[in-house]
């Protein structure tokens, strides 16, 4: 079975590989959770690449309705056309706007469908998609047609855990929780993204990174994506690795910290910690 494996640019742990392959083999949606910045959305891109399928992305917002993924009936413009006497008004299908799910179902070849951040939507949203994701078909009331998936798409759903998902929905999914990578995995990830990074710089940067993460009071802990951004900056600035040696109390705030720390409370916290460590040195 041509399955999903770690690629040069995406390091997947074995359990993630198994979860993806199980979801593909059994044609069930895969629900991925994890800290922000651990590569949930990127996973869908990588799966699409590994399987050689095109990717359809459906980004969910707080106002998104499940129906919008299937189709929308634009009643207002039909009403307006009716009042203006437009001949288009006689065919209702002119006013049916296809959604992402419809696109994925009608496609000539199998697709990967990413439903991104499903927890952003209303609490009933997953329930409204139960049958559609289970049977991979839905009914268009306005035109009395049933849309059935020609090829069942590989569905990947990400969630940031802002809302609890209903049990009935969960029952139909495979589930994977992306754990924060340990040091070893992180080194592999860094290698995958920056093959020509200086070893010493990478090592020092990772030291600083894990130190920053170990500060428990942080509001937003930096995650993989922040680390990669930061490394990119470090490489552009071409900073010598010595700068990162955190044993020097003057540099207890990491250089270019803007990429790692995302709110001012965290930056203040670090300034305070740096100040305290300077005091201790004296």
């Amino acid at each position: 079975m041509a399955g999903f494996r770690s690629t040069e640019t995406y390091i997947a742990s074995r359990d993630l590989e198994v979860a993806v392959n199980a979801a593909v083999a059994l044609q069930r949606p895969l629900l991925v959770k994890g800290e922000p910045g651990t590569g949930k959305t990127v996973l869908a891109h990588e799966v699409a690449r590994a399987l050689g399928h095109p990717l359809i992305e459906w980004h969910i917002k707080s106002t998104t309705k499940a129906q919008q993924g299937l189709y929308e009936y634009d009643a207002v413009s039909r009403l307006r056309d009716g009042q203006l006497g437009d001949p288009r008004v006689h065919d209702i299908s002119n006013y049916i706007v296809r959604g992402k799910l419809w696109d994925a179902f009608e496609a000539e070849k199998p697709h990967v469908l990413l439903i991104d951040e499903i927890d952003k939507a209303d609490i009933e949203f997953p329930n409204d998609l139960l049958l559609e994701l289970d049977r991979m078909q839905f009914f268009v009331y306005e035109t009395r047609q049933t849309v059935v998936a020609k090829h069942r798409p590989v569905v990947i759903i990400t969630s940031n855990n802002e809302k609890e998902l209903p049990d009935a929905f969960l029952r139909r999914c495979f589930f994977h929780y992306i754990r924060f990578p340990d040091r070893e995995t992180m080194e592999r990830i860094v290698q995958a993204h920056f093959p020509d990074i200086k070893q010493e710089l990478a090592r020092e940067a990772l030291n600083v990174f894990f130190q920053v993460r170990s500060v428990t009071e942080l509001k937003k802990k930096p995650a993989t994506s922040e680390l990669l951004d930061w490394l990119k900056l470090l490489m552009i600035e071409d900073l010598p690795p010595e700068v990162l040696r955190s044993s020097d109390p003057k540099t207890a705030i990491p250089p270019l910290y803007g990429a790692l720390l995302k709110n001012e409370q965290d930056v203040h916290l670090f300034e305070r910690l740096a100040f305290l460590s300077r005091q201790r040195q004296r």
């Binding site: 199980a22 083999a25 029952r171 495979f174 929780y177």
Partner: protein, 394 residues
């Protein structure tokens, strides 16, 4: 074999159903697991666990069912596994001479052992969550300072292989378990739970029926009717116990709820010490300037505010039922009276207690407040907050 596994999971409180079981079987038939134990572990986890809070329990059950492992520490049944001798040493290390003298008052060493044993078993799980539990009470015979259970490992091997087979033994997900008390890491999760009850506020939506009606009245000429977008109108009033035994908890609480500010447009907070009396304050550092009379709070905030008290309720009962019982000042009226006024004024109120539920029984004051709150005292755990939000949004 597998049916047994599912049953064990269900007993452990993981809601795995027939559907998931069949999925797992189908997955194995399709050869996803590839006859490797590691892959089987991964596959069954992906198929059967749907919530990261259950991952820890799953690991434990998997370990028990497939390896015949000893139940890992932290289990309710594992208390007996803590060696007596080790406990004795612990006690010696922990207690000062003075406190040892108190032991006699508490019913002797044997009884204390029981309590300590129980407490240690509980603490194992809780410490992961980041709350320091022993030593917060002030009345606790175990001393207030310097006890760190992290250094103690029971029945766990030093060197663990990195292989996945060992993952369930390592229980890497343990701090996500829902029954463990909230630490900084679990806080985000708990916060999300508050959001749910916030969403149930006012639900006004775009008014299509009204548009149709208006259009019909208009003899078919389109007349669009708009209604305002729905807003979250839940109002929350927060009373935080501060100082003394709450020192360990209050930062956690404040962080938790200050982050909630984004969600609750109307979030107000006040501090009190041990029990609310006639004065509350908004800012601890400038307590004198920021003091507010409780009457004023009652007048300012309407009964539609949901009042949440956060405190460990560990104090002398006199502080609740006796005029002048407060440890800080002379209070004309008892804490009981003030609490009655507050809970009577606000239609929905609840008390969150950062101490574990099992420990409330040991404080008369906690039981007293529990009764005064009409049983609406909840532990400050994810589960407790969920229960509380359910009660508050009813």
């Amino acid at each position: 074999m597998l049916a047994h596994f599912i049953l064990a999971l269900r007993t452990a409180g993981i809601p795995a159903s027939i559907t998931e079981y069949l999925t797992l079987l189908r997955g194995m038939k399709e050869g996803v697991a590839d006859y490797s134990v590691d892959d089987f572990y991964h596959l069954s986890r992906a198929a059967l666990v749907k919530d990261e809070r259950h991952l820890d329990r799953f690991d434990r059950v998997f370990g028990e069912v497939f390896k015949g492992l000893e139940p890992p520490e932290g289990d309710p049944g594992a208390e007996a596994a803590i060696p007596e001798e080790w406990l004795r040493k612990m006690v010696e290390k922990l207690l000062t001479e003075e406190e040892k003298a108190q032991i006699e008052a508490l019913g002797g060493f044997e009884k204390l052992m029981e309590t300590l044993k129980q407490r240690l078993a509980e603490q194992k799980g809780r410490h992961q969550g980041g709350s320091k539990w022993i030593g917060t009470g002030g009345t606790s015979p175990f001393g207030a300072h310097g006890y760190n259970p992290e250094g103690v490992r029971i029945g766990q091997d030093e060197s663990r292989h990195r292989r996945a087979v060992k993952v369930w033994d390592k229980r890497e997900f343990r701090d996500l378990d829902g029954d463990i008390e909230i630490g900084t890491r679990n806080m985000k999760l708990a916060l999300r739970r508050l959001r749910r009850f916030a969403r149930q506020g006012a639900a006004t939506e775009l008014d299509l029926p009204d548009t149709i009606r208006a259009t019909a009245n208009n003899a078919g000429t389109l007349d669009l009717k708009m209604v305002p977008e729905r807003h979250n109108t839940v109002k929350v009033l927060l009373f935080l116990d501060i100082g003394g035994s709450m020192d360990d908890h209050v930062q956690v609480c404040a962080e938790l709820f200050s982050a909630a500010r984004a969600e609750f447009k109307h979030l107000e907070h006040f501090y009190f010490h041990n029990c609310p009396y006639e004065r509350l304050w908004r800012n601890n550092r400038r307590r004198r300037e920021s003091e507010v009379s409780t009457w004023e709070v009652l007048r300012t905030y309407g009964p539609d505010y949901k009042a949440i008290f956060v405190g460990d309720a560990a104090m002398s009962p006199y502080e609740i039922i006796q005029p002048g019982g407060s440890v800080e000042h002379w209070n004309e009226e008892t804490g009981q009276v003030w609490l009655h006024r507050l809970t009577g004024h606000f239609r929905r109120s609840a008390w969150l207690n950062p101490m574990p539920e099992a420990a409330w029984g040991r404080y008369q004051s906690a039981l007293l407040l529990h009764r005064l709150m009409e049983q609406r005292m909840y532990p400050l755990t994810l589960g407790g907050i969920e229960e509380m939000t359910r009660e508050l949004s009813r």
